[in-house]
């Protein structure tokens, strides 16, 4: 767990976000990360001589040492011409595990999944030109979802830069708008400093991806520079402590609110503030709604956990937001999928907005009480200032929310496992996976209907057990991110819940699972459709189903070809056995769930509408 508040010398600019991690190895590495940039760890890096090697130290060695100095134990990559000097020395650093992916997009998503599951910085590697551009989707995904990542690319020798050389592309120009910061390194002696800065930037404040582009001559050239013990970044000083006057104002608002709702976002998980959130909610008896990336910020069985808000969130949660007189938004950014049409969003509510990024304040929604700071620290400061509220005094409010909830949870749920005509219902499948894994597995969703069903029905109790591509909405994210998540939390079972469309985008990583024996269980919700596209076409584009029907391979044969154990379920009564069979496999497994082809995710807030304008499932049985 985060130990970042102990030790006297931890100044504000040195704080790194580290949510809890479980294994001994993970803890050891976390301890290492904690001491990042300190002499202790730097001295632990064995020099080439200590490794019994007589060759001179080159830039590529500095890269490996820098990774070790930052507590990296594994990274995902794919070699290429300009990276060969690095791959040539990787074998001399057996502490660094390199996972060979099948496509660089898989590497960046895997680094993303690894980072979200473990709370450490994910690292991915690609060669110049196409290798680098293939990483970009995953880098953008990490940017939108504030995931700490360091993406490393090779580039052509610096004398060829700008000459349109083979596999040369201006990759720092490409990643500039989708990274927190990026570097072009053409001097081997810059490598230690750049890596120290990159890891610091990626993990500190609002996390994000940092890209380091290294020319081949910088990897090959002699390097004499030492690894720095500090970073000097005068333009990067995140504000961690919320302004105390604002915190006091917030406490006053909270004290007089009658229908307050907490809106918990990804920031709560990033700041490792789930305990503080629970304490705060219990003391003030305020129900907690959460965003898509805020799923698992609160144990869903907690009496004050209200549920998921937004476009495909629960109706009762959206109703609570719309009738609230105070919203306490913690580490979330009022995305359009949360607010819908802003002028109608939470019309009666004053808003307290806590975020570590000042640019998020007032960006999408005007707020009354902005607090720029780390959610954990702000909640810690706020807790003693708010009055303890007896559950009885909020009874009428909480009872009303509970009544709404009963009604809302009943309507779109297919408890028998059968949708219309007895076809297998996806919400039932997802629910069964949650139950079978005792709500403790890391569940990684792809994008689309499967993602919505996963967030709604799997049931989440453990922080960071839900991983989803929120901001960028990247189809193909699920499988590689689950691969990374499984490596980041090897102590936890990992399930990828994916659709047949998304899986076909990154299916080649099945081979990586086999080669590196990564025990990801894949729940393929196959409706032979791009389901969310089809849903919009049905509901908004008058049933004009263009390009939303797609063929897939024979999934069991495909799994078999890759050497992945495959199972199939097409009826509700087959679901439990298929899940159990997959769980029993020592290694990766795929379960092909043949779900109803035309099932939609309800309720649904159409784009451009408000949280009160939800479409709901029509319950007329079609004529037999």
């Amino acid at each position: 767990m985060g130990t970042r508040d102990d030790g006297p010398d931890r100044t504000a600019t040195r704080i790194n976000h580290m949510p809890g991690a479980g294994t001994e190895r993970a803890d050891a590495i976390s301890a290492g990360r904690h001491e990042m940039l300190t002499d202790t760890l730097r001295k632990q890096i064995k020099s080439l001589a200590e490794r019994g090697l007589k060759r001179p130290r080159i830039g590529a060695d500095a890269v490996c040492e820098a990774l070790l100095a930052q507590g990296v134990d594994l990274f995902f990559g794919f070699p290429g011409g300009v990276l060969l000097p690095l791959y040539d020395v990787l074998g001399d650093y057996p502490e660094l595990r390199h996972i060979l992916v099948r496509h660089e997009q898989g590497a960046s998503h895997a680094a993303d999944g690894y980072a979200r599951a473990s709370g450490r910085v994910g690292v991915c590697l690609g060669t110049s030109g196409p290798g680098a551009t293939n990483l970009v989707t995953g880098i953008g995904n990490a940017m939108l979802d504030s995931v700490p990542m360091v993406a490393i690319t090779g580039n052509v020798v610096s004398s060829l830069l700008g000459k349109d050389a083979f596999q040369e592309i201006d990759i720092t120009g490409i990643t500039l708008p989708c990274t927190k910061h990026n570097y072009l390194v053409n001097n081997p002696n810059d490598i230690p400093r750049v890596f120290a800065e990159a890891f610091h930037i990626a993990a500190t404040g609002r996390p994000g991806p940092v890209h380091i582009d290294i020319t081949k001559d910088a990897l090959m050239g002699a390097c004499t520079a030492e690894h720095p013990t500090t970073v000097d970044l005068p333009g990067f000083k995140p504000n961690f402590e919320g302004n105390y006057r604002q915190v006091k104002l917030a406490a006053q608002e909270i004290a007089r609110a009658e229908r307050p709702v907490i809106l918990a976002g990804h920031g709560v998980l990033i700041a490792d503030a789930t305990e503080e959130l629970r304490e705060f909610a219990e003391k003030t008896q305020i129900p907690i709604a959460h965003t898509l990336l805020g799923v698992s910020a609160i144990d869903e069985t907690h009496p004050l956990s209200l549920g998921w808000v937004g476009m495909h969130g629960w109706k009762h949660v959206n109703r609570a937001i719309q009738s609230a007189d105070l919203l306490i938004a913690l580490g979330m950014r009022f995305d359009d999928r949360v607010t819908g049409h802003v002028p109608t969003f939470a019309p009666y509510a004053r808003i307290i907005h806590v975020d570590i990024d000042p640019a998020e304040i007032g960006k999408n929604v005007a707020v009354e009480i902005p607090i720029v700071g780390d959610v954990k620290r702000v909640l810690t400061a706020l807790l003693p200032l708010v009055p303890a509220v007896e559950p009885e005094s909020r009874a009428a409010y909480l009872t009303e929310l509970a009544e709404w909830r009963v009604e809302s949870e009943k309507t779109p749920w297919h408890g028998s496992g059968a949708w219309r005509n007895g076809q297998l219902s996806a919400d039932f499948v997802v629910c069964k996976i949650g139950e079978a894994t005792n709500h403790d597995a890391t569940i990684v969703a792809d994008v689309g209907q499967n993602q919505m069903w996963a967030a709604r029905y799997a049931g989440f109790r453990r922080p960071n057990s839900h991983i989803s591509s929120g901001g960028l909405g990247t189809m193909g994210f699920g499988l590689p991110a689950a691969m990374g998540a499984a490596m980041g939390r090897p102590d936890k079972e990992t399930w990828a819940i994916v659709g047949d469309g998304g899986l076909q985008m990154t299916v080649q990583e099945l081979m990586t699972l086999v080669q590196d024996h990564i025990p990801v269980k894949i729940a393929l919700l196959d409706n032979h459709k791009l389901g969310m596209i089809r849903q919009w076409q049905e509901l908004i584009y008058a049933g004009n189903y263009h390009s939303s029907h797609l063929l897939g391979p024979d999934w069991l044969k495909l799994a078999d070809a890759y050497g992945v154990a495959g199972f199939r379920a097409s009826k509700p009564e087959e679901v439990d056995a298929a899940i159990a069979a997959a769980r029993a496999v020592d290694g990766p497994a795929l379960v092909h769930f043949m779900i109803a082809e035309e099932q939609n995710v309800f309720p649904m807030m159409p784009a451009g509408k408000g949280l009160s304008d939800l479409l709901e499932e029509q319950f007329e049985e079609p004529k037999q």
């Binding site: 500039l176 109608t344 019309p347 509510a349 005007a366």
Partner: protein
């Protein structure tokens, strides 16, 4: 079912749960207020690519830069940018905050409403021969502009002043025929002893 601030009383808004505060009928959308001219000063690290980062950010965030002037400062590792752009207060504040997110940006300040000295320089090549040269010279003189080059059929006027002063001079000279015009973009400095760069002195 539709519920907005102006249409309460739907099932989602039970009558017995009267809100504690009176909310506005519709939540304001940030950035939709009245647009006017703003002047931002950004103190940035003097590194390759910083101008590109700033320009790229403004493009990606849909802010339109009207003028941009970049130069060294007295500190060799620090450069100074002056940007002018149009937008409402919230939108420009958002632009400033986004600029500040850049690692190489040390400080951003909106000096629009501060007391400042604001200047730009313009070189204006005006069509003028012996018949109307005197007239051009008189106008230039009234605007404290200098003639820095003289040819048989044209002359170059060098004007300095605020954007509005230079605009006014250009408008007057347009009647003679402007052959070529270049403007440096606004640079500003706050009046008094305070210094924008003070906070970033290293």
């Amino acid at each position: 079912m539709s519920q907005t601030g102006s249409n309460p009383g739907t099932p989602a808004d039970p009558a017995h749960s009267a809100p504690a505060h009176t909310a506005p009928p519709a939540r304001a959308l940030p950035g939709h207020g009245e647009a006017h001219r703003h002047v931002l000063v950004a103190i940035v690290l003097n590194k390759p690519g910083v101008l590109n980062r700033v320009a790229s950010l403004m493009r990606a965030r849909n802010f339109n830069i009207e003028t941009l002037a970049v130069s060294h400062t007295d500190q060799p590792e620090v450069s100074r940018m002056t940007l002018t752009l149009r937008g409402d207060d919230v939108a420009v504040e958002q632009a400033a905050k986004q600029l500040y997110r850049l690692i190489d940006v040390l400080k951003v300040q909106d000096v629009t409403s501060d007391p400042t000295v604001e200047h730009e320089i313009a070189l204006i090549k005006v069509r003028a021969d012996e018949r109307n040269r005197g007239e051009v010279l008189t106008i230039a003189d009234m605007y404290k502009a200098k003639v820095v080059d003289l040819a048989a059929e044209s002359l170059i006027v060098e004007a300095t002043g605020s954007e509005a002063e230079v605009d006014a001079l250009i408008a007057l000279l347009r009647g003679f025929g402007i052959k070529e015009l270049v403007r440096s973009g606004t640079v500003v400095m706050s009046r008094g002893t305070g210094s924008i760069e003070e906070a970033v002195k290293r």
